[in-house]
């Protein structure tokens, strides 16, 4: 933030070249870096060291301005020279707008010579350039952005979260509750979801140093939500910054053109299906992130009454950030609740720290917390293995480990209590523990409705078997044909166990059959939909012709009434028959079980 000096305003071009330069360099580095990451952890380590070194250079370069190391001078000498002369010329003219323009121009010129040698960053740079310009048009952000990328070189350390691919960002900035979006995005959305009615949302820019401060916190994983609370402009801009710095559009370079194509369709119904289809082709992490961002935006426009933002205006503000057209963003916003019906915005509760006073008390909560802590622990381990070691990290490692141990102990006491109660139950029924527990688990579900029966049994049965196989005193053999566990003939539970196993088998068959039928029905639905779409075009044509011959109004009503009544009746009959069918099937299975039991 040494770059905030007033000189910047007097000589706007002075740092612009460096900023642009640093930017292009950065994108190169990071693509290298992420490739490294995919190879192996060792490579990653090397990549990081290299990364660090390069960053150091950048920093030196940015700070020293013209006096750069020889190798860098080779690439950048000409642009920075041409640039300086130009900017000096323009600074003499006092018009602010002109200055903006000149910077734009000089930035472009500065980039030209570099764009030639490396082919990969070229595309990215161009895009970034374009995007930048769009932003300037809409928000006049240029100066801030340039400063931002210059300051970044000082801030970023080791593994950044900003400016890397979505999957990398998720890996480095993980939400530990199983939602795979980067933590920084989650925190911003969580904050903004609480402030939807605020009129300033997405309209006010934060203090730049504050924004950069948060970026650094997240890049270095030093963010502590308890201490560093976001504010509205920062949350908006941090989210935008993250999205803007993604090396690839969120909709991916491969698919973005097809998305745009679909968005230019006029037919709304068709649009939705096609968008859905395209969304399924996106990498999972991109889809999830897109879902969260769009659902949040939708929530914003639902509060239009308060924040004065509707789909059109919000898309105007944010479509450049998402690297998509205004039209596409409006289309996505319009369909997003159906497109992402499977996604829900859930506020993030970070893993406990030893500072947080209340440990969870119920079994479920403990288990949930435990899985969060496990996720956190494995992230710490993998980062440490890759060389991301700080004193703070080490302390965190011990702390997380301690919390896990505490949670596990607590869970164990729960289990012990439960075991005790089960033991008591067993004693009262005076049956050997293994089979008794099996009885209790299995007799219940068979009475329950059909769908849940098959599921719950399939879950319970293997457990029961496993428990059985653990008990050494009970001898058993496994039937080679069916895989059933056979107890010796003398055992009183032989028949019972066999019966349950056969029943399980039969129910599984039924489940599979039903699943197959569901698939078939879905196919039929799909086929009919297509047919309908075809027909609807035809019928629109036909409708005009038929209209003249239509019967009088009262007839219509009578006919409609007749059919609705008839349909309701049929629906009821169908349901009854369905129930009967289920009953019959169950009886069938019972008989089947008896029949097969005879074989043993």
């Amino acid at each position: 933030m040494d770059f905030d000096s007033p000189e910047e305003k007097e000589f706007p071009g002075l740092y612009a070249s460096e900023a642009a330069d640093a930017k292009s360099k950065k994108s190169k580095e990071e693509s290298d870096f992420s490739e490294d990451h995919e190879h192996s952890k060792k490579d990653l380590l090397i990549g990081r060291r290299k990364d660090k070194k390069d960053k150091g250079k950048d920093r030196g370069y940015a700070a020293l301005g013209g006096e750069s190391s020889p190798e860098e001078e080779l690439d950048t000498k000409s642009p920075s020279k041409s640039k300086k002369s130009k900017t000096f010329k323009f600074t003499s003219s006092k018009s602010k707008e002109k200055r903006e323009k000149s910077r734009d121009k000089s930035e472009k010129e500065a980039k030209h010579p570099e764009e030639d040698p490396p082919p990969a960053p070229k595309a990215k740079d161009k895009k970034a350039d374009k995007k930048d310009k769009k932003d300037k048009k809409s928000k006049q952000l240029s100066q801030q952005q340039d400063e931002a990328s210059a300051a970044e070189e000082v801030l970023a350390l080791g593994y950044p979260v900003f400016g890397v691919s979505v999957s990398l960002a998720i890996e480095r900035s993980r939400c530990h509750d199983g939602v795979d979006i980067p933590l920084v995005v989650r925190d911003c959305i969580d904050y903004l979801q609480d402030h939807l009615k605020c009129e300033q949302i997405y309209k006010i820019e934060p203090i730049k140093t504050r924004l950069m401060h948060y970026k650094r916190l997240y890049n270095n994983r030093e963010h502590d939500s308890a201490v560093d609370e976001l504010n509205l402009p920062t949350a908006c801009s941090l989210l935008k910054l993250f999205l803007r710095e993604l090396p690839e559009p969120l909709l991916t370079t491969d698919l973005v053109a097809r998305f745009e194509q679909v968005a230019s369709h006029s037919k709304v119904t068709k649009q939705q299906a096609e968008l859905q289809q395209l969304l399924e082709q996106l990498p999972k992490c991109n889809r999830t992130l897109l879902a969260w961002v769009l659902l949040h935006f939708e929530a914003v426009i639902q509060q239009e009454r308060y924040n004065k933002l509707n789909a059109q205006s919000l898309a105007m503000l944010l479509s450049p950030t998402l690297q998509m057209s205004h039209r596409l963003m409006v289309a996505l916003l319009c369909h997003c609740s159906t497109l992402f019906a499977d996604v829900k915005l859930i506020k993030y509760v970070p893993p406990l720290t030893s500072a947080s006073p209340n440990f969870p008390d119920t079994r479920e909560d403990i288990q949930k917390e435990l899985s969060k802590q496990d996720s956190l622990l494995s992230q710490i381990h993998s980062e440490m293995n890759a060389g991301f070691i700080t004193k703070k990290r080490e302390e965190q490692l011990w702390e997380v480990q301690r919390i896990i141990t505490q949670l596990k102990r607590k869970l164990r006491t729960f289990e012990k209590k439960q075991e005790k109660s089960v033991d008591e139950l067993d004693n009262s029924s005076s049956a050997p523990p293994t089979v008794a527990s099996e009885d209790t688990t299995d007799s219940k579900p068979t009475v329950a409705p059909v769908d849940s029966t098959s599921n719950s049994i399939s879950l319970e049965e293997p457990k029961a078997e496993a428990r059985l196989s653990k008990q050494p005193p009970i001898e058993f053999s496994i039937d080679p044909g069916t895989g059933f566990i056979l107890l010796p003939k003398s055992n009183p539970h032989r028949e019972n166990l066999l019966r349950l196993q056969i029943e399980y088998d039969e129910l599984m068959d039924w489940q599979n059959e039903l699943k197959a039928r569901i698939v078939a029905e879905r196919k039929e639905v799909h086929r009919l939909k297509q047919l309908y779409e075809q027909q609807s075009i035809n019928s629109q044509m036909a409708a005009l012709a038929v209209e003249s011959q239509a019967p009088p109004e009262s007839d219509y009503e009578r006919i409609i009434e007749h059919y609705t009544r008839e349909n309701a009746l049929l629906e009821h009959k169908k349901n009854m028959l369905g129930m009967e069918l289920k009953e019959e099937r169950r009886a069938c299975i019972a008989l089947q079980v008896e029949l097969r039991l005879q074989q043993f």
């Binding site: 710490i380 381990h381 440490m384 293995n385 070691i389 080490e394 302390e395 490692l397 011990w398 480990q401 301690r402 896990i404 141990t405 596990k408």
Partner: protein, 201 residues
């Protein structure tokens, strides 16, 4: 290594190492909660913190109970690096666990890069003396070679359980004061070198 003054009582970080099933968790739980667990459940990693009074001074001890199995060797380094003292446990009824201590010792020295790291060789299950497979003399010889104390414990009877933890804490404490006294790096190096020679003999 020096403690931050803000952290309150001094904190000593102890790590339990040794083969699977030798009683690392049993020792830890006995020390922490005065309980003896009969049934064996492999540990992945567990960590505990306890306030104790060490020679009249209130201190905190962090105990990290590690996995004996090789499967978790990858995460072991991360823990070893932050450990200040080590209890290297084996079972006196199991010769292989005794042989394995050599490897653990090497791994610790490799990670810590320090021959004089506070370290105790602990022969557990001394209540099962009738099933002893590792002769006492052999244990003592190895401890002598490494220039570390040797203590026999029983997690079951609680024999020497407190002793090993407190002895180790004392070593860690004296090591810390030594370190803060030896302001120049050279003094530390010399100390290390001297130790090295000892082990070579």
């Amino acid at each position: 290594m020096s403690k931050k003054p803000t952290a309150g009582p001094a904190l000593h970080k102890v790590i339990m190492v040794g083969s699977g099933g030798v009683g690392k968790s049993a020792l830890t739980l006995q020390f922490m909660y005065d309980e003896f667990v009969e049934d064996y459940e492999p540990t992945k990693a567990d960590s505990y913190r306890k306030k104790v009074v060490l020679d009249g001074e209130e201190v905190q001890i962090d105990i990290l109970d590690t996995a004996g199995q090789e499967d978790y060797a990858a995460i072991r380094d991360n823990y070893f690096r932050s450990g200040e003292g080590f209890l290297c446990v084996f079972s006196i009824t199991d010769d292989e666990s005794f042989q394995a201590t050599q490897e653990f010792r090497e791994q610790i020295l490799r990670v810590k890069n320090d021959e004089s790291i506070p370290f105790l060789l602990v022969g557990n299950k001394c209540d099962l003396n009738d099933k002893r497979k590792v002769p006492l003399s052999e244990c003592q010889l190895r401890a002598q070679q490494w220039a570390v104390p040797y203590v026999e414990t029983s997690a079951k009877t609680r024999e020497n359980v407190d002793k090993v933890f407190f002895d180790l804490m004392r070593e860690i404490r004296s090591r810390k004061t030594e370190d803060s006294k030896a302001t120049s790096g050279r003094a530390k190096d010399r100390c290390k070198k001297r130790r090295l020679k000892c082990t070579l003999l």
